[in-house]
């Protein structure tokens, strides 16, 4: 609460030439800290599966076509 009060005082004492910069900074901070995180999407739980390994094969050759 004290911080909020001190911030208002600092804005009050800010020389005119620094006011625009201070406002832009405050706007960015307000935007950043106002962000509400979205709820995480439901993720599929990884699970082990049984798998059969087929025969080993070489990747296909490179075919040059027109």
């Amino acid at each position: 609460m004290l911080g909020r009060y001190l911030s208002c005082i600092m804005i009050g004492f800010m020389p005119d030439e620094g006011l625009e910069e201070a406002l832009f900074s405050l706007r960015d901070m307000l935007e950043f800290y106002s962000h509400k995180p979205e709820p995480h999407p439901t993720t599929l739980t990884p699970r082990a599966i049984n798998a059969t390994i087929a025969d080993r094969k070489k990747r296909p050759d490179l075919v040059l076509t027109e």
Partner: protein
């Protein structure tokens, strides 16, 4: 300047490193089956890539290795490593009408899809690599953890590294091809 490959001397994978015998496990996806059915009786095809070149960035690979050793933060782990397939001359089936013309265009870097690497020795090893053609449409990734497992169990051969300035030339051409964006049709 004649091409020669540099013998690998790094514990981590390098950008431009040529690996032989890389294994990929490809899940068979039979038509008409549900996800549950496929996962219930999964079949994996082991696909061998005789030659590939690592195209992930060198700094990312180094940070990844350090992260795996716990020497830096975990978020620097590279989940997948990118590769580009390399094809020896005798594994290229030329179905074009003017065969010598198609290969000459590849050799002269006139076809943006391919990159030609001449046969060259691997420095200080007595080994060499054959004439190879990179197909930028044959790029794929594998989980980095899996690749290091293949390396640590000697299931792949780390052959050599493409030196500078051949490395820069290769990567610029590869990413130029991969960075293409389709233009809308003219109306």
């Amino acid at each position: 300047m004649a091409l020669f490959y540099v013998q690998h001397n790094s514990p981590f994978l390098r950008q431009g490193e040529i690996i032989s015998n890389l294994l990929e496990f490809k899940l068979q996806i039979p038509g008409g089956k549900s996800v549950e059915e496929v996962l219930g009786s999964a079949r994996l095809d082991p696909i061998v890539h005789p030659y590939v070149i690592v195209i992930s960035q060198d700094c990312d690979l180094e940070w990844d290795y350090k992260a795996r050793l716990g020497q830096t933060s975990e978020h620097k782990v590279l989940i997948h490593t990118l590769f580009c397939g390399l094809f020896p001359r005798d594994e290229i089936l030329d179905q074009t009408k003017r065969k010598s013309e198609a290969f000459r265009r590849i050799k002269d870097s006139q076809d943006e899809r391919y990159h030609y690497l001449s046969p060259a020795p691997i420095n200080q090893t007595g080994d060499s690599l054959p004439e190879l053609v990179a197909d930028f449409k044959s790029t794929f990734s594998l989980p980095t953890e899996f690749v290091y497992w293949l390396v640590s169990t000697a299931q792949v051969i780390r052959k050599g590294e493409l030196p500078s300035p051949y490395l820069e030339d290769f990567m610029h051409r590869a990413y130029s091809f991969l960075g293409r964006v389709a233009t809308p049709p003219m109306t």
